[in-house]
Amino acid sequence: MTENGNVLIGKDIHLNFGGIKALDGVDFTVERGKIVSIIGPNGAGKTCLVNSITGYYHPQRGRILYRDKDIFGLKPHKIARLGISRTFQDPTTYPSMTALDILLAGRYMHTRANMLHSMAYFGRSKREELESRRIVEETITFTHIEDVRKLPLATMSYGQRKQVEIARALVMEPKVIILDEPMSGLDDSMKEIVTELILDMHDRGMTIVLIEHDIQAVMELSHFIVVLDYGEKIAEGTPNEISRNERVTEAYLGGWSSAQQ
């Protein structure tokens, strides 16, 4: 842990696709145990930033520190094992698997990947198995997906898939969870459920990075907000500061509220 309690720090991240600057020198800090949101209009580079943190994209320049360890350029599965898990914007990740199987697969890195051991079910393996089952069951209750546990993902509604995707990230017992637009495409009651879930995660001491378009939810939930536009950070601060920031209102909130009218 760094001295000021920042669990995740990004410094001067540059990500180009050919001539397009997807991220142009972005800095950010995520304080431990806080809910930090990244907002910005479509194409601002939010998902690019998430993909850069989680190892899916490899930025040309920059540094990313996680608990003082440089994770810049590590592969996605290595980063997942360090305790950063993420959800995907499109929740149709594993269409043929049931919710239960997806969650059990999510426990993969918490068990030794030894086939013989897990087949034999002895000793430590047995304990790991029981522990995993317990966490999976707990998470199923926690994320309200009891009704769909035995259904293949492809047969679920969009909202249910979103919940399963969050549950999958949770069973990995992450220290930092990155939620990529968990509320997009959901109706109000589902948004309510996801909001409750995020608050519950916060109560459990998790650090949460939230990418979200629903400004109202972001303002309610976040402790700190980072605003991106055209791959650059144009502002950061508490929800109060952000809502009073002129540049943000112009680039994003203004556009957003006029789009609503």
Partner: protein
């Protein structure tokens, strides 16, 4: 034998041959599912594996055994050595070719497989001289036995037992172990599954080693069953294609069903058509595949892609 016993015999031996087909089909399905590679070189995997096995095990002693490998060993040594060589082969193929194919479209991997097919063929001919038939010394008990009053070849019965064991082991692995579940997740979404903490490399290695081992097991079982070891074993790929097209390209259980349908159907078709349509057996497989593809394009148990419009 009366008509009833006869039918029973055809079905029972069909089940046993079918179990070998099922096992071989599973090897194909596992690679397809976990690495998205349509391994058209699968037949060559079986030939190579069988030749490697022959190189350690040798032909049965006797007048027919004109060809003998230089390194003939006793079975307890020969079998582990074969397994080790085949594992090394699987890892090599993975490292040199298919690791680069992670996340690539299936058509690209198909073309690479085609290249590998030609390469392996050449390699096998270069090392073993392609021509000639090498009988394989029995690695499992051979002879005849009876179940009830049905005569069955012992080697077929043992192959059945091995195939059954293999099939159950794979089903257990993919349904119950977390590594298996993780590999299924990779099949569903190669990109997203990386965030589960599963190494794409480990997945690819396991898939290719399993593929090589199962192809070898299939090649050896069929060789012991009487065909001997020769380039002709590469026709196994035709059986495999039939099995997986009938059962469904991405379903392990489909392989079991496909293998059984193919072998039992084949037995019955040959027997009952012999007097009316000579040579029907040679086209039976194709007719069966065509029919299944017409009725169920994704195979009997394959996943039908569900899309939202």
């Amino acid at each position: 034998m009366d008509a009833g016993t006869n039918l029973l015999y055809l079905v029972v031996s069909g089940i046993m041959v079918g179990s070998i087909y099922s096992l071989i089909g599973m090897g194909f399905v596992i690679t397809y599912r976990t690495t998205n590679v349509f391994n058209i070189a699968y037949g060559q995997f079986a030939v190579l594996g069988a030749f490697i096995a022959w190189s350690f095990i040798g032909s049965p002693p006797g007048p027919s055994a004109s060809l003998q490998p230089v390194t003939r060993l006793i079975l307890p040594l020969a079998i582990p050595l074969t397994v080790i060589c085949v594992i090394v082969f699987g890892l090599l193929v993975e490292r040199l070719l298919f690791r680069r194919m992670i996340g690539k479209p299936v058509f690209v991997t198909f073309m690479l497989g085609l290249g590998l097919l030609v390469l392996l063929r050449g390699l096998i001919m270069l090392m073993w001289g392609g021509g000639g038939l090498r009988a394989l010394a029995p690695t499992i008990p051979v002879g005849s036995m009876t179940i009830g009053n049905i005569p069955i070849r012992k080697e077929l019965f043992w192959s059945f037992g091995l195939a059954l064991f293999g099939a159950l082991a794979f089903l257990f692995f993919f349904k119950k172990t977390r590594l298996g579940l993780a590999m299924r997740a990779i099949y569903d979404n190669q990109i997203a599954a990386r965030c589960l903490g599963v190494s794409a490399r480990l997945n690819s290695q396991i898939a290719w080693v399993l593929c090589a081992l199962i192809a070898t097991a299939g090649g050896v079982l069929i060789a012991v069953g009487g065909t001997g070891v020769s380039m002709g074993l590469e026709n196994l790929v035709l059986v495999v294609l039939a099995v997986v097209l009938i059962g469904g390209l991405d379903s392990l259980l489909g392989s079991v069903v496909g293998g059984l349908i193919l072998a039992i159907g084949n037995n019955l078709a040959i027997y009952y058509s012999a007097n009316y349509i000579p040579g029907f057996d040679s086209i039976f497989k194709m007719i069966l595949i065509l029919l299944i593809l017409l009725i169920r394009p994704h195979g009997l148990m394959g996943t039908k892609p569900i899309e939202r419009v």
